[in-house]
């Protein structure tokens, strides 16, 4: 993340476009949830034979729920970024006007009479920038959290695949299909989240 937030006029659009991409994440999280249900039903039917699959399905449900919750938080944070970036832009403009007046009024008898307004505008701008920076940091952290979870999902996919191989022929294909769908969903989420972070950090 950039240490200094450069006030780009399109910053609030960036936040909105992060929000827009989240619909993909949400869709995939719901897919995971659905696959988890299928897996649970299958585990119930297959019985003792596949009991090692039980914790995996629980994990899938947990992952889907966590992702949906994180997406909600990200949406909230994106909205805050849109707002705080607009406030910062306006603060930047105000400071610019006072600075210009300072330059234009060189030699004026009462030039210093608006220095408190100039200082206040500068201080406001610093506060606005810090708020924006805080919001961007929060959003990055939330996106990182989803990404970390998707990396963990990779490990679970490998384990599930090994487990699926030991399941009797009757259920093996079903389990393998569930694992494959889970893997695809997790990959898509990770790719989207990485894209969001790129957009957010202007890279």
């Amino acid at each position: 993340m950039r240490s200094d937030i450069e006030l780009r006029t399109n910053f609030y659009i960036t936040a909105v476009s992060v929000s827009a991409r989240l619909s993909t994440v949400l869709k995939e999280a719901k897919n995971i949830s659905l696959e988890a249900m299928n897996a649970k039903a299958l585990v119930a039917r297959a019985g003792e034979n596949v009991r090692t699959f039980k914790p995996i399905t629980d994990y899938m449900v947990e992952l889907a729920n966590d992702t949906i919750r994180l997406v909600e938080e990200i949406n909230r944070e994106s909205l805050l970024i849109s707002k705080s970036s607009l406030i910062s832009l306006r603060g930047n403009e105000a400071f610019g006007h006072f600075l210009k007046a300072k330059n234009l009024s060189k030699g004026a008898l009462y030039q210093n009479s608006f220095s408190s307004a100039l200082l206040a505008a500068e201080k406001d701008l610093q506060t606005f920038k810090q708020d924006l920076q805080k919001n961007v940091r929060m959003l990055n952290e939330l996106l990182e959290e989803i990404e970390t979870r998707m990396l963990a999902a990779n490990v679970v996919t490998s384990t599930s695949r090994l487990e699926a191989a030991t399941v009797s022929n009757l259920y093996r294909a079903n389990f393998e299909a569930i694992v494959a769908k889970f893997e695809t969903a997790a990959k898509n989420i990770r790719a989207t989240v990485m894209e969001c972070r790129k957009v957010l950090n202007g890279r």
Binding site: F98, A101, S105, L109, Y110
Partner: protein
């Protein structure tokens, strides 16, 4: 920005600011007026946001900025008062006098600190530091809530958009030849002023005043006989021509 001291009396003075060479070219040129007493001051139609820095830089040649205790906005247009949000940061203790109908609208420019004092439709008198200014109704000339400012001591009428024109930076600050000045103001009055009834009412009102200078917010200032020439010319002019289409 061009600066002219228009009047200097025993207790107060009028200063006009205009023809800002720093303004972006597509923005209409405006005149701003400062009335300064010993301890206080009022800024009439402070101008658009693009002009703010030039205005602020200009007024501090005449007074410490916090001596400005009052602002006046004849109506709601952006060229009149879109700088409000910045004056609000500069003069948090000032009072803005503006038509009551525009309060909810003008606050969109940002008015968190400044006190908004609503001028009633019939107008009112503002007194401060020994000065008396009359807010003269000029509704529908062009704005539906609109006032002129009359100073009976200096005999100056600040007329807002009335008398103004689509002038250029090179135009003189004072009308030099009224006949030659007409092309500059004709379209502006025909197309911007909407109502014959409003025009007649305003003319009737201001004809009762003793006016030495009539100062519009755009273009050149009318002095002496040119004031009467303008009033007669306006009387004969058809306004509201946008309705011809």
């Amino acid at each position: 920005m061009k600066t002219i001291k228009l009047y200097e009396g025993q207790f107060h003075e009028w200063i006009v600011f205009g023809r800002d060479p720093d303004k972006p070219s597509k923005i209409i040129d405006t005149n701003q007026f400062l009335i300064k007493t010993k301890h206080e001051a009022i800024l009439l139609d402070p101008g658009g946001i693009e002009l703010f820095s030039s205005m602020l830089a200009s007024v501090v040649h005449f007074l410490p900025v916090d001596q400005i205790t009052h602002l006046f906005a004849s109506h709601q247009d952006p060229d009149i008062i879109s700088s409000l949000g910045l004056w609000d940061k500069t003069l948090p203790h000032a009072t803005l006098h503006a038509p009551w109908i525009w309060e909810g609208f003008l606050r969109h420019y940002g008015c968190n600190n400044i006190t908004y004092s609503s001028i009633p439709d019939e107008g009112e008198t503002l007194k401060f530091d020994g000065l008396e200014l009359q807010f003269i109704p000029a509704h529908y000339m062009h704005s539906s809530g609109n006032f002129c400012v009359y100073d009976p001591i200096s005999k100056i009428l600040f007329s807002g958009d009335i008398g103004g024109g689509l002038n250029s930076l090179e135009d003189p600050m004072f009308v030099e030849n009224f006949e030659a000045h007409i092309p500059q103001i004709k379209t502006f009055h025909q197309r911007w002023m909407p109502s014959e009834r409003a025009k007649d009412k305003w003319l009737k009102r201001v004809r009762k005043l003793d006016i030495k200078y009539m100062c519009p917010q755009h273009g050149s200032i009318y002095e002496g006989d040119d004031v009467q020439k303008f009033l007669n010319w306006l009387d004969d002019l058809e306004v509201g021509t946008g309705l011809r289409v």
